[in-house]
C-alpha cells in the first residue's frame, strides 16, 4: 500500500476555532483520519511525525517576530499550504491593531508592555509566504474544509464558490432582511460559504467570510447609510474579522474619513 499523504495542522495567532472545525467533522473524522496520516496536529495529538508534509493547514495570523520566522519553516516543509479561516487569510480580528499604534494597545491590556514580544501588525499568511489555497470564514465551514481535503486527495480543484452570500440566501428562500426590514447586511459583498445563516436568523450578515470577488462596497455603503446607519456604524461593520482584507479595509477607511472615496 502506498504511504498515506501526510497532513499537518499549524496554529498562529487565533482562537483555535478553525482547527476545532476539523474535529467537529464528527461523521467524517475517522474516514479522514484513515485517508491521511495525521502527522502533526498538536490540538489533537501528541504524536509528531517529521516533515515534509503533503498538506499543511495553517490557522491564525502572524503577530510576533517568532511567528514570522516560524511560518517560513512551515512553508519549507509543506508541499501544499492551505490557510484556514479569517485570521490566516486576512489577519483576523487582531488586525484591528493595524489601524492604530500597537504600543497603545499593549499599554491598555498589560501592566508591563515591555515583557511582550509583538509586531506592529497582524498579517495574513500570504503576506509572508506563497499560499496554495485560502479557505475563508470565521470560522471556516466544515463542508468546505472537507471539500478542499477531498479535492486535494483526488488531485482536482476544490469546488468552493466565490459568489456572494446573497446568492446562498436567495437559494435558501429567505426574504431579504435589508429590503424587507431595513437591517444592515454585508451579504451583497461577502463571499458565500456559511449558508447565509445570519439572514436566516433574522440578522444582517457581518461579513465573517470576507469580501467576495469584485465587491461593490461603495454602493452597499451608500445603501447602508440611506437605511439610517451613520459613518461610524458602517465603518464598524466593515471592520471586524476581515478588517484588513483589502476591499473591506478600503470601505472602512472611506467611512472613517467620511468621504466615501475608495
Amino acid at each position: 500500500m502506498a504511504a498515506l499523504p501526510k497532513l499537518a495542522v499549524w496554529k498562529f495567532a487565533s482562537c483555535d476555532g478553525c482547527q476545532l472545525s476539523i474535529l467537529d467533522c464528527e461523521d467524517e473524522l475517522l474516514a479522514v483520519a484513515g485517508a491521511v496520516e495525521v502527522a502533526n496536529f498538536l490540538e489533537a495529538s501528541s504524536a509528531v511525525v517529521e516533515g515534509p508534509y503533503d498538506v499543511s493547514l495553517v490557522e491564525g495570523s502572524v503577530t510576533t517576530p517568532h511567528d514570522a520566522e516560524r511560518i517560513q519553516e512551515v512553508r519549507r516543509v509543506s508541499k501544499f499550504l492551505v490557510t484556514i479561516g479569517a485570521c490566516a487569510t486576512a489577519g483576523g480580528i487582531q488586525a484591528l491593531r493595524n489601524f492604530t499604534a500597537v504600543d497603545e494597545y499593549a499599554a491598555a491590556v498589560y501592566a508591563h508592555p515591555e515583557y511582550l514580544s509583538t509586531l506592529e501588525t497582524s498579517t495574513p499568511i500570504s503576506a509572508h509566504v506563497p499560499v496554495d489555497y485560502e479557505l475563508r470564514g470565521c470560522p471556516i465551514d466544515r463542508g468546505q474544509l472537507l471539500e478542499v481535503l477531498t479535492a486535494l486527495l483526488r488531485k482536482r480543484r476544490p469546488d468552493v464558490r466565490s459568489s456572494s452570500v446573497c446568492l446562498q440566501c436567495k437559494r435558501r428562500g429567505n426574504v431579504c432582511v435589508m429590503v424587507a426590514q431595513g437591517i444592515g447586511c454585508l451579504g451583497p459583498v461577502t463571499q458565500a460559504g456559511c449558508g447565509a445563516i445570519c439572514p436566516s436568523f433574522g440578522r444582517g450578515c457581518y461579513g465573517c467570510f470576507g469580501p467576495m470577488e469584485t465587491p461593490n462596497t461603495a454602493s452597499l455603503s451608500a445603501a447602508l447609510q440611506a437605511g439610517g446607519m451613520d459613518d461610524t456604524a458602517v465603518m464598524r461593520l466593515f471592520r471586524t474579522f476581515n478588517a484588513t482584507a483589502p476591499a473591506f479595509e478600503a470601505a472602512s477607511r472611506a467611512r472613517e474619513r467620511g468621504d466615501g472615496q475608495l
Binding site: G17, E43, A44, C194, C198, G202
Partner: protein, 410 residues
C-alpha cells in the same frame, strides 16, 4: 515549561505561555455596546458561548435590562450544548488518551473504535444544540445583547430530545469508563472558586463563592481578585487578594455546587465512588464526565419544557455606566467588565478568563508533581507534567501537546 532543581529539590517551576497577545480589551474600546458578544466570542473557538454570555450579562446590567425567563432558559440550553461539546472534547480527545496510553483519540480509535465513535456522536449532540439555538457551533451568530435574534421553534428543538436521551445514557457510560482509569496520587489545597446558584447547578448566573467563605456579587469581583503580569508569560496570572492562588473549573464547581446537581448526575458520582469534594486534579476527568451527565439532563429538561417565547429578545437601550458579568465557561469562571457612555460606546473592557485564573494554581501543582517524581528521567517527567496540565483543561491551545520542557539541575 522550565524547572529548576537545586540539590535534589524543586527550586522553581515556570509555565511560559507564548500565546501571541491579541489585545481584545484594547480594541473593544470605541466599539458599540452591542458588539461584545460577536467580538469576544473570537477569544476562544472552543467556548465562544461563554464569552457571549458573560459579555451580554455585563452590558445588560449597565443598561438595566431584565431578561425574560424563557430567554434565560434558551441561553442555558445553548450553554449546555457548549458544555457537552467542550467536555466531550476534553474527556475523549485530550484526557482519556493519556490514561489509555495513546497519543490521540485518532490512535485510540484503532483499539477502541466504539468508544471513539460514541465520543464523536455525543460531541455532535452538543454541537447540534448550538447549531439549533445559535446558528452554528463555533462562533454562534444568533446571540445578541438582550437575548436572541430569533428563537428556535419547538419543531426545530424537538428532534434533539430523542438524541439527548441517548446522550444522557452515553454520558453515564462515560462516567463508568473513565472511572476505571488508574489515577496518580495528588492532593491539592487551593481555594475553589465558582458561581453558585441555590436553584440550579450554576452556569449562566449566580454569586461568586469559594470554599474559603467568599460569597459576593459578581460586581464585587474586582475588589477580591486581581491579575498580575509576569515577565515570562502572555497569560496574566489571577490572584485572590488576601488568599493567593485559587482554582476555577469543574473541581471547584462540583465541590461548591454538589447539592444542585441533578439527581441522575449525583447518582453517577456516587457510583463512581466520588465524594462531594474531589481534590485530585487527575480525577477531574470523572468530575467533567459527571458534569456532562448534568448538562445532557438539563438540556433535555429545557427542550421538553420549551415553549416559544413571546419575544426573542428584550430591548436594551444604552446608558452610561459600568457593568459586570460572570458565567461558568467549561473551563471555569469567566468574568467580563465594561464601561460605556450614554451613546453606548465602550470606554473600557476587562476580561478575566479561567485559564488565567488557574495559572498560579497550575504552577503550584506542577511543583508538587515534579517534587514527587524526581526519580523519573526528563522524558517521563515531561509526559507527566503535560498530563498534569491537561487535568485543568486550560485553553486547548496551551493545554495540549506543546511542552518545551527544560530541566535545570544545579
Amino acid at each position: 515549561m522550565h524547572v529548576v532543581l537545586a540539590e535534589g529539590e524543586v527550586a522553581d517551576v515556570k509555565l511560559r505561555i507564548y500565546e501571541p497577545p491579541r489585545f481584545f480589551e484594547a480594541f473593544l474600546r470605541d466599539r458599540a455596546y452591542t458588539e461584545p458578544p460577536d467580538i469576544t466570542a473570537r477569544i476562544c473557538g472552543i467556548c465562544p458561548v461563554a464569552y457571549q454570555m458573560s459579555s451580554c450579562q455585563a452590558i445588560e446590567q449597565i443598561c438595566g435590562a431584565v431578561i425574560d425567563e424563557p430567554i434565560k432558559a434558551l441561553r442555558r440550553l445553548l450553554y449546555c450544548g457548549e458544555w457537552i461539546e467542550s467536555h466531550v472534547l476534553h474527556i475523549y480527545f485530550l484526557h482519556a488518551p493519556d490514561f489509555l496510553g495513546a497519543s490521540s483519540a485518532l490512535e485510540l480509535a484503532k483499539d477502541h473504535k466504539a468508544l471513539v465513535e460514541t465520543a464523536l456522536t455525543l460531541k455532535k449532540v452538543g454541537n447540534d444544540i448550538m447549531e439549533a439555538v445559535g446558528g452554528r457551533p463555533i462562533h454562534p451568530i444568533n446571540v445578541r445583547v438582550g437575548g436572541f435574534y430569533r428563537a428556535p421553534t419547538k419543531r426545530e428543538l424537538l428532534p434533539l430530545a430523542e438524541r439527548l436521551r441517548w446522550a444522557r445514557d452515553a454520558a453515564l457510560e462515560t462516567v463508568r469508563v473513565v472511572s476505571t482509569f488508574d489515577f496518580p496520587d495528588l492532593e491539592i489545597d487551593h481555594d475553589f472558586v465558582a458561581l453558585h446558584n441555590p436553584d440550579e447547578y450554576a452556569i449562566v448566573e449566580g454569586r461568586v463563592v469559594s470554599d474559603g467563605g467568599l460569597d459576593i456579587e459578581v460586581a464585587e469581583f474586582p475588589q477580591h481578585f486581581t491579575e498580575e503580569h509576569v515577565p515570562y508569560s502572555t497569560t496574566l496570572h489571577g490572584h485572590m487578594i488576601e488568599r493567593g492562588s485559587y482554582l476555577v473549573g469543574p473541581l471547584a464547581r462540583y465541590a461548591l455546587n454538589y447539592d444542585q446537581l441533578p439527581a441522575i448526575a449525583k447518582q453517577a458520582a456516587v457510583e463512581a465512588g466520588l465524594g462531594k469534594v474531589v481534590r485530585n486534579p487527575f480525577r477531574s476527568i470523572q468530575v467533567r464526565a459527571v458534569e456532562n451527565v448534568a448538562a445532557c439532563d438539563e438540556a433535555l429538561r429545557i427542550i421538553e419544557e420549551y415553549e416559544e417565547p413571546d419575544r426573542p429578545s428584550v430591548p436594551v437601550e444604552p446608558r452610561a455606566g459600568t457593568g459586570h458579568g460572570a458565567t461558568e465557561a467549561p473551563r471555569g469562571l469567566l468574568y467580563h467588565r465594561y464601561s460605556i457612555d450614554e451613546q453606548g460606546t465602550i470606554l473600557a473592557a476587562n476580561i478575566v478568563p479561567p485559564t488565567a485564573q488557574n495559572q498560579e494554581a497550575i504552577e503550584a501543582d506542577l511543583r508538587k508533581v515534579v517534587a514527587a517524581n524526581l526519580s523519573l528521567d526528563d522524558h517521563d517527567l515531561q509526559h507527566l507534567c503535560e498530563q498534569s496540565i491537561r487535568n485543568y483543561d486550560p485553553c486547548i491551545s496551551c493545554s495540549t501537546h506543546f511542552l518545551d520542557f527544560t530541566v535545570e539541575r544545579r
